[in-house]
């Protein structure tokens, strides 16, 4: 934790408003919000209460008048602002008195948003490599012979005595033909894209969860901290 205090300096001017489309895109990984300060809480006292939040490993913060700039690196898991990489906290006059306005940037949210695309790309790579690695007729015949052999294997007498089901018998030709389509999928089981699709879905769900949960947790954290 490093603190660069310059409270006596003039405050930073408010940043220029970004175009609407950019602001919309930024909502993916930017967290904006505001929390009204408790009555009679002076700016200095408010920042003093927020100060412990920046006392975590990898955090650098600097105060310039009514603004605090924060940057974070290698945030520990238990850092309450661990999703934040940089941002500003500004105390401004509001309709109902002074208000803390914050604008935080989270690369974790951005990467989580992009992760489904990565896993979809992996799924397509898997499909592509699977087409290059189609088994030859000899390999298919060998695999079938192996399966047939497996069907001939008898259970150990101990397992028989204990009642374990015997291994499946090899399928007959008719059934084989019926299952051929299914078998085609199984032949290339090392190149199934399903796992990658599942993880694309998991990260899409995780992003939605994080986008809703983290801003709520951060707002609650600021509210509680300012309330003392």
């Amino acid at each position: 934790m490093t603190s660069l205090s310059a409270s006596g300096m003039e405050t930073l001017p408010a940043p220029a408003e970004a175009p609407a489309i950019l602001r919309l895109m930024q909502r993916i990984w930017h967290i904006r919000g505001e929390v009204p300060l408790p009555a009679d809480l002076a700016t200095d006292e408010a920042f003093a209460r927020l100060d412990p939040l920046f006392a975590h490993a990898g955090t650098v913060h600097a105060r310039m008048g009514d603004v605090v700039l924060v940057t974070k690196r290698d945030q520990l898991a238990q850092d309450p602002l661990s999703v934040v990489d940089s941002g500003t906290l500004r105390i401004e006059p509001g309709e109902q008195g002074p208000t803390l306005r914050y604008h935080l940037v989270s690369r974790a949210l951005l990467y989580c948003f992009l992760a489904p695309l990565l896993f979809l790309a992996i799924s397509q790579l898997t499909v592509f490599l699977g087409t290059l690695d189609k088994p030859t007729p000899e390999e298919i015949a060998k695999e079938k012979a192996k399966k047939d052999k497996q069907g001939e294997i008898k259970l150990n007498p101990i397992d028989k005595f204990l009642g374990a089901p015997a291994p499946e018998k090899p399928k007959d030709e008719k059934k084989d033909a019926k299952d051929k389509k299914k078998g085609d999928d199984e032949e290339n089981e090392g190149f199934s894209p399903i796992t990658a699709y599942v993880f694309a879905g998991i990260f899409a769900a995780l992003y939605v969860l994080g986008r809703l949960l983290e801003p709520w947790l951060i707002r609650r954290l600021f509210q509680r901290t300012l309330a003392g």
Binding site: A57, G58, D74, Q75, L76, A77, Q78, S82, V83, A108, Y111, C112, A115, F119, I122, S123, L125, T126, L129, D133, Q150, I153, L155, N156, I158, D159, L162, G163, A164, P165, P167, E168, G190, F191, T195, A196, F199, I202, F203, L206, L209, G210, L213, E214
Partner: protein, 333 residues
């Protein structure tokens, strides 16, 4: 810190550790809670064995195993909230997302690579080159013997690979990043460089012919024993369990910030292997990680073995032989 003498070595000089089962905190709460967290692990293990032993062929399938595996992980994740071992290991959204990223990479990219250069692919290539068959006699053994023997043989190989990683710099590099985790949670086993995940998965299982049911049994047993290495749940495991199997306590010590403690408890499932070779320490640690508990980003985890390896390679002319015979670290044993 004075440290604690364990056999010939002194542990806990760099970071606090708890040694001895009698010093480890117990599950707190009512009778049901204490009974649940005492017998949950054995109940799951024996339940899984019974299920996979007797399930009809129509159910005893790989897809069923995947479904049970996912369900079990979700249940363990819930247990982390019900009875956490340490508050300082609590899962957060970012931590969960990070862990699942590694799980995803392991389940997709690492699996993809293993199609070409995994141990099974290598063994298959050797078999076709030298024209030798698998050890077919293995399938004649009772199902449980097949499952347990294959797990034990794999774990023996994994023990020496893991111990090698802690003693030989080129293997330490890909493994080192896994030791930067600062807390244990359900999916932390997958956190690490993909190169390490590939190395640790190498085994000689491909040499043996299994009955499919024995293979599924082995998977279920490994899940029922191995799921607790990285987890933030406090269990009061029965004495026989912690004598035979690797527990969260053992593995937390292996991940401790104390260097000497990390050189213990190398096995994956059977801690008796560590007992056999004198590397087992019964105890636990809360403060985990390297460099005083610095958290490593995903980017650094991916690059670290290569950047550090390159640095070591460049320095080879001005220092002792890079991968010389004499280790710079004092052997644990």
């Amino acid at each position: 810190m004075d440290g604690i003498r364990v056999g010939k070595r002194i542990v806990g000089t760099q970071s606090p550790v708890t040694i001895g089962w009698e010093n480890i905190p117990k599950v707190e709460g009512g009778t049901f809670k204490r009974l649940f967290f005492t017998w949950f692990q054995p109940a799951v293990l024996f339940g899984m064995i019974a299920f996979w032993y007797y399930a009809p062929n129509s159910i005893a399938k790989f897809s069923t195993a995947i479904g049970i595996g996912i369900g079990f992980r979700i249940f363990l994740q819930i247990l982390e909230f019900v009875n956490p071992r340490h508050k300082s290991w609590q899962i957060t959204w970012k931590e969960l997302a990070t862990d699942l990223f590694y799980v995803g990479i392991s389940a997709t990219c690492v699996q993809l690579v293993e199609n070409y250069i995994g141990s099974d692919a290598i063994i298959e290539a050797l078999q076709s080159t030298f024209d030798f068959d698998k050890f077919a006699w293995f399938t004649g053994l009772p199902l449980l013997v097949q499952a347990l023997l294959s797990l034990f043989i794999f774990d023996l190989g994994q023990y020496w690979m893991h111990r090698g990683m802690h003693n030989w710099y080129p293997l330490w590099l890909p493994h080192s990043v896994h030791h930067y985790i600062t807390q244990l949670n359900v999916h932390k086993g997958a956190v690490g460089n993909p190169l390490e995940l590939f190395l640790i998965g190498l085994g000689i299982g491909g040499l043996f012919d299994f009955l499919p049911r024995a293979f599924l049994l082995a998977g279920a047993i490994s899940m029922s024993i191995g799921a607790y290495q990285h987890i933030n749940v406090r269990f009061d495991s029965p004495r026989w369990w912690r004598f035979l199997f690797n527990t969260t306590e053992h593995h937390s010590l292996h991940h401790s910030q104390d260097f000497e403690s990390t050189r213990s408890n190398y096995s994956n499932w059977f801690i008796v292997i560590d007992r056999m070779f004198g590397t087992c320490i019964d105890g636990e640690a809360e403060l985990l990680g390297m460099e005083g508990g610095r958290r490593m980003s995903i980017r650094e985890q991916m690059l670290y073995p290569f950047t550090e390896g390159w640095k070591a390679w460049k320095e080879r002319g001005v220092r002792e032989p890079m991968f010389g015979d004499h280790p710079t670290a004092v052997p644990a044993e």
